[in-house]
């Protein structure tokens, strides 16, 4: 309890000063277990839930969480959802659980979580809470023996850009902003109270090998890789569609500029003729002419998100392929002996 009091004080005193950048997310084993259980039970449906905890200096502590019910039609149950949240927070407060929202968690399928909805949810949360984080859990990787838990945050530069609503090429070039700068991944630390740790050690004494190891040594990763490849191909298709949009825009733009040049030439010759005839020269610009209407440049947000996803898939494939190498060499060595 003493550490709680100290961190409360710290939290209050840091309010005036500028908050230091978030460096680590500290999760309690309890929250991790709850997230795993909830995501796994409802796989393959995607589920979300709320994270509760404390924001202390450069560490964001997540001490508890609760799941959101799956909503079928959003219209009727909008108010219900808010009620549920309030109810849960009130009840948890009564048993002395921190009922400070620090973010939310969601499950994902094979790591394809970069969508516009995610960004919108982030912006919604950011309005109310100074620092929030999103935890992504991938239940499909549990078969491979990997705990796929990631903490994400939108980078500040991205948030400013998004608020301005401007994703044109010029703005992005000014800020030197690339697709890698949208999301920031924050390292996760897991902590457990001593009591819980004592219980767990007693329940399952330190075995030399754990089940996770057995899973990792399995060499049948083909279904995972196949799914990854499928998603990758789909994303590449989306990416090429986006690029085609850009090409179309550029083509239109250059055509429009050519048209403008031609019209300008015509006006100039006309003006020279008029001047020689002693009449008023016509203005060189004509805003009512449709060829001068500026064409809106398509937003690059989609393409950035898709790029992020593709990169994610590539990374996953790399990781699994690397593991497969080690496994294959291992079996080779065993066989020779």
């Amino acid at each position: 309890m003493a550490t709680m009091a100290r961190s409360f004080l710290q939290a209050i005193s840091k309010d005036e000063a500028v908050a230091p950048p978030l460096r680590v997310v500290q999760i309690e084993g309890l929250a991790v277990l709850k997230i795993i259980k909830h995501c796994k039970e409802f796989a393959p449906t995607l589920v979300t839930g709320q994270l509760l905890g404390l924001d202390v200096g450069s560490v964001l502590e997540v001490t508890n969480c609760f799941p959101f019910p799956v909503r079928d039609d959003d219209e009727e149950i909008e108010a219900d959802g808010a009620n549920y949240q309030l109810e849960m927070m009130r009840c948890l407060r009564e048993v002395n659980v921190d009922n400070n929202t620090v973010g939310w968690y969601q499950s994902t399928v094979l790591g394809s979580y970069q969508t516009v909805e995610l960004i919108e949810t982030f912006m919604n949360y950011q309005e109310n809470i100074k620092r929030c984080v999103c935890i992504i859990y991938d239940p499909s990787k549990a078969d491979l023996g990997v705990l796929a838990l990631k903490a994400l945050k939108l980078s500040d530069s991205f948030m400013d850009l998004y608020r301005a609503g401007n994703f044109t090429g010029d703005k992005l070039r000014e800020k030197n902003f690339s697709w890698m700068d949208i999301f920031e991944e924050i390292p996760i630390k897991v902590s457990n109270s001593a009591l819980v740790s004592a219980f767990m050690t007693e329940l399952e004494t330190d075995a030399p090998v754990s089940q996770g190891d057995y899973d990792r040594l399995q060499s049948s990763t083909t279904p995972f890789l196949e799914n990854n490849m499928e998603f990758l191909i789909k994303c590449m298709d989306d990416l090429s569609m986006e690029q085609q949009k850009f090409q179309y825009y550029y083509r239109n733009l250059s055509r429009q500029q050519a048209q403008q040049q031609a019209w300008l030439q015509k006006r100039r010759t006309e003006n020279m003729a008029r001047r020689s005839a002693g009449e008023e020269p016509l203005p060189e610009e004509d805003p009512s002419n449709p060829i001068f209407k500026p064409i809106p440049e398509p937003s690059r947000l989609e393409s950035f998100l898709i790029t992020n996803q593709v990169s994610n898939f590539c990374g996953q494939i790399n990781g699994v392929a690397g593991q497969n190498f080690s496994r294959l060499y291992l079996t080779k060595a065993l066989h020779e002996n």
């Binding site: 959101f68 838990l149 457990n192 009591l195 819980v196 190891d213 790029t307």
Partner: protein, 293 residues
Amino acid sequence: MAATAANEHTVLQFAAPSSATTTPILTARIHPLVIFNVCDCFVRRPDSAERVIGTLLGSILPDGTVDIRNSYAVPHNESSDQVAVDIDYHHNMLASHLKVNPKEIIVGWYSTGLGVNGGSALIHDFYAREVTNPIHLTVDTGFTNGVGAIKAFVSSNLSLGDRQLAAQFQEVPVDLRMVEAERVGYDVLKATAVDKLPNDMEGMELTMERLLTLINDVYKYVDSVVEGRTPPDTNIGRFIADAVASLPKLPPQVFDNLVNDSLQDQLLLLYLSSITRTQLSLAEKLNTAAQML
């Protein structure tokens, strides 16, 4: 008054006769999340309370096993002769939990501390009104006897003729199991603090090291048996023989081909993903660097 008796085999005799459809509860299966919840609530209890109670959620399987999957704490007040439980809170939390997972129903209640006492019997009565034959779980957070004991009880009423004499708490065997996904996070859940979650390759490295240690141990054991230092144990010998025999017997040519093919597949995938990455950076340069006029 309540009495505790730890007698697994007579549980059938004391089956609750209230309705013909209730199957006698044979074992309780607990998910580690419940233990975590209980410990967390215990650590956060208000200073005046000596122990924490709460509701257990789960389901009853057709073979009589109670599968306890989730739990939440319920505020209560306990003095030497009275027990007050916040029933509204209990119902509110139950409704909220049911919204998320309607299959998890009340199966009983838990309390910290070792053994049952008078207050527990009253609380157990209250829960018996909510569900037939509730199960009572005690989690010994005080570690009396140097052991963190987790015990489960079912109660039955002892009556003489029409008068109710006492409630007898019968102990039920407890089975603690972990679902696969939780096993994955197992290392992470045991220690008091883990600095960072291992990623793919680091996890692989850890596993390899462990495997190597295991093989070394077995090697040393076999050596010492051969030299006569340790008495041979036929069971272990059989296990080792089984393990060695489980390697598939393929002619070396076929095996090499197999391994090489898989290696080539993996290399192909790596190449593909590197190409995709290069393509991405090219595309991005083209998109944002293109200037008109």
